[in-house]
């Protein structure tokens, strides 16, 4: 096993750790910081993969992901949180230790589901594929459990991070056109969501989804 692969394994473990940290974090500012960390881990692992394979377009992908997920989107989210004046997510119905246990169960499930795929991928470890799949499931879990609109969106963005991580670790990166397309969709999506938040708050005086959905009761 070469050094770059070991570093990628280490980064994969960090990626999973950040996913768990996001699951338990209720303070919005910290959640955004964690998102930026996840982006950092992602960009680094793409860069190391690029160094190992000598693939130039992976360098471009690493820079693109880094700019977008370490700088642009966290800045945008912070601005939104400040202007909307939201700092805390509400207490969720499920206690944090319980959430952690569910998350552990999902990781075990993901590792099993990744077996057939990892068996074919000669480039990477079985663990990396499993971790990518586990992070996808953990992000979904986060979206289900959160009630504040902004943290749901961060969950969604973490889901997208995990998918890009899966794409690079399983296939060694998608073609450049696709990467750009996905990045464009993400940035447009975040902008539209930002517009949305203001509309929602104008109407409801709140960004708490429970209150929005329960308005008929």
């Amino acid at each position: 096993m070469t050094h770059p692969t070991r570093i990628i394994d280490l980064l994969a473990a960090l990626f999973l750790l950040v996913a768990f940290a996001m699951l338990s974090q209720r303070r919005l500012a910290n959640l955004i910081t964690l998102y930026a960390w996840q982006g950092t881990v992602l960009a680094l692992s793409i860069a190391i993969l690029a160094y190992e394979t000598g693939n130039t377009h992976l360098y471009a992908s690493a820079i693109l992901n880094g700019l977008l997920k370490i700088l642009a989107i966290p800045a945008l989210l912070r601005r939104l949180a400040r202007r909307l004046d939201v700092q805390w997510d509400r207490e969720s119905l499920v206690q944090i230790p319980t959430v952690m246990l569910i998350g552990l169960g999902l990781v075990i499930f993901a590792f099993n589901a990744a077996l057939p795929i990892a068996g074919l991928a000669h480039t990477v470890n079985h663990e990396t594929v499993g971790i990518a799949l586990a992070s996808v499931l953990l992000s979904l879990l986060m979206m289900i459990l959160r009630t504040a609109a902004l943290s749901q969106v961060i969950g969604f963005l973490a889901l997208e991070n995990s998918l890009i991580f899966a794409a690079t670790s399983v296939t060694g990166g998608m073609p450049m056109v696709i990467e750009f397309g996905v990045a464009l969709d993400v940035i447009v999506g975040v902008f539209i969501l930002g517009v949305f938040f203001f509309h929602i708050r104008e109407q409801f005086d709140s960004l708490d989804l429970d209150r929005i959905e329960g308005r008929e009761d």
Binding site: P116, I117, L163, M174, I178, I200, L209
Partner: protein, 482 residues
């Protein structure tokens, strides 16, 4: 070149409408752009039917008898919806539901939405297909909340999050298909559908199984398959009527098309019928849940959107059955449903606008008040519940025939669901259309001409399918896989 034009025209149109969409001329520009798209689609259809499939831009775009059906349908319904929206949206603006800025947003996003759908249909690259589908979500999210009412914002949020997650899972599926194709085709070509289809027996079945599960869940969310259909009734009911017509008539078809393309990548041998089984299961669940949810609805547009869940379920089920007959029936059903459902939405939008409410209990005597709206609503409802001689009856009959041959146990369930849908929708619409009017007679709205035009086409499909069309659809049915 025609292939390039079909995606460029709506894109350029969106840019122009972004500049002039708020003016009164915006409506006419919208119609002109849609008409130009339909002309390009017509030119392309002639070429495909004469010379067979072709591609453009180094195989990035391609067209064959299967996707040309949906391209034509998209261009046609887009044109008639733009004609309808000229009258409808003008009235909405006059009633004070919209201001100039939102009208411009509506026009620009409408053409952008058509562009993303046409790109999704004509692209050969499964990555671009994903990007286009995501683009369709983004361009319609702001249209659903166009009126900025609490209910419409809730609907748009639900749509954004549910379809966003769905489409993210579809990306994972796409990545896995790319991975499976990587070994056989190399990095450069492993995203092109035609190439993948050429080597489909070499793709690893285990990876393809996992990929297809993600893809059917992902694109199935957009196609409104149960249990991922929660966004659909809200989005259809709260968005402006032209959007409901295009969502139901077009977007659901495009999402189902994506699933069908991936199903065709599954290997031919008998041991691998799982994609078909999966589609049959989701389809059957959608038919049943859709039909039985109709009874509880009070909102006119929600009624028709649950009917969309039912009909998309039926088409998915038929593609799941597979084989030339079921695929032919499914394509015919998609065509018939798309034309009829958009007509039903035109009529119900018009009725709700005149009555000032979407609550079916409070709408009565439509026939007395506005005969054209009454006839349009009655005829569309009769057509959508599968009354002969409309085209939906023919396709439903063919689907049941195919089901009798391949999966006889599903037939009683399907017949039950269709019967329930028939009874519920008929009871609801006849109570609205007949009965005494509670207000004076109004001038007949000219916008409903397109509704009658659609119904005439559906009638032709039901009475006698033209020979050219039958050959064309049979070719397409073979492409949709066994």
């Amino acid at each position: 070149m025609t292939l390039l034009w079909i995606v460029l025209i709506p894109l350029i149109g969106a840019a122009i409408l972004g500049a002039v969409g708020h003016r009164n001329s915006g409506f006419s520009v919208n119609i002109a752009v849609s008409a130009a798209t339909l002309l390009a689609a017509g030119a392309m259809t002639v070429r495909v039917l004469r010379g067979g499939s072709f591609s453009a831009l180094d195989h990035e775009l391609f067209i064959d008898p299967l996707n040309v059906i949906l391209v034509d349908l998209t261009a046609l319904v887009a044109l008639s919806t733009s004609v309808f929206s000229r009258t409808y949206m003008r009235t909405e603006a006059r009633l004070g539901h919209l201001n100039a800025a939102r009208l411009r947003l509506y026009h620009a996003m409408y053409q952008l939405f058509i562009f993303t759908m046409l790109l999704a249909l004509t692209t050969n690259n499964i990555g671009i297909l994903w990007i286009a589908m995501e683009g369709a979500t983004l361009s319609t999210a702001l249209l659903i909340s166009l009126y900025r009412t609490p209910a419409s914002l809730e609907a748009a949020w639900k749509y954004f999050i549910l379809c966003g997650v769905g489409i993210a899972l579809a990306l994972l599926g796409t990545i896995l298909v790319y991975f499976a194709g990587h070994a056989a085709l190399g990095a450069h070509r492993a995203l092109l559908w035609t190439r993948l289809h050429g080597v489909k027996d070499e793709l690893d079945p285990a990876v393809m199984t996992v990929a297809f599960v993600f893809l059917i869940v992902g694109y199935g969310t957009k196609a409104g398959l149960v249990p991922f259909h929660n966004w659909l009734p809200d989005a259809h009911a709260e968005g402006p009527t032209p959007l409901s017509a295009t969502l139901s008539g077009l977007l659901l078809n495009v999402a189902l098309y994506a699933i069908v393309r991936f199903k065709a990548l599954a290997p031919d041998d008998a041991a691998s019928h799982w994609p078909g089984r999966l589609m049959m299961g989701f389809g059957l669940a959608s038919v049943l849940v859709g039909a039985f949810s109709l009874g509880g609805q009070r909102d006119l547009k929600r009624l028709f959107s649950y009917s969309s869940v039912e009909h998309m379920g039926l088409a998915t089920f038929a593609f799941g059955l597979g084989g030339p007959l079921a695929n032919f029936a499914a394509l015919l059903h998609m065509t018939g449903h798309s034309l009829t459902k958009s007509s039903a939405f035109f009529a119900s939008g018009q009725v709700a606008q005149t009555a000032g409410t979407k609550d079916m209990d409070r709408i009565t005597g439509v026939m007395d008040r506005a005969p054209a709206s009454g006839w349009a609503l009655m005829a569309s409802s009769l057509a959508i519940i599968g009354t002969p001689p409309f085209g939906v009856f023919a396709s439903e009959f063919l689907i049941l025939t195919a089901a009798l041959r391949k999966a006889p146990w599903t037939v009683p369930l399907l017949v039950l669901a269709l019967g329930v849908a028939f009874a519920t929708i008929f009871r609801r619409t006849q109570a609205m259309v007949f009965g005494t009017a509670d207000a004076a007679r109004t001038r007949t709205p000219p916008a409903l001409i397109v509704s009658f035009a659609h119904l005439a086409l559906v009638l032709v499909l039901g009475l006698a399918i033209p020979h050219v069309l039958a050959i064309w659809y049979a070719k397409a049915a073979r492409l949709a896989g066994p």
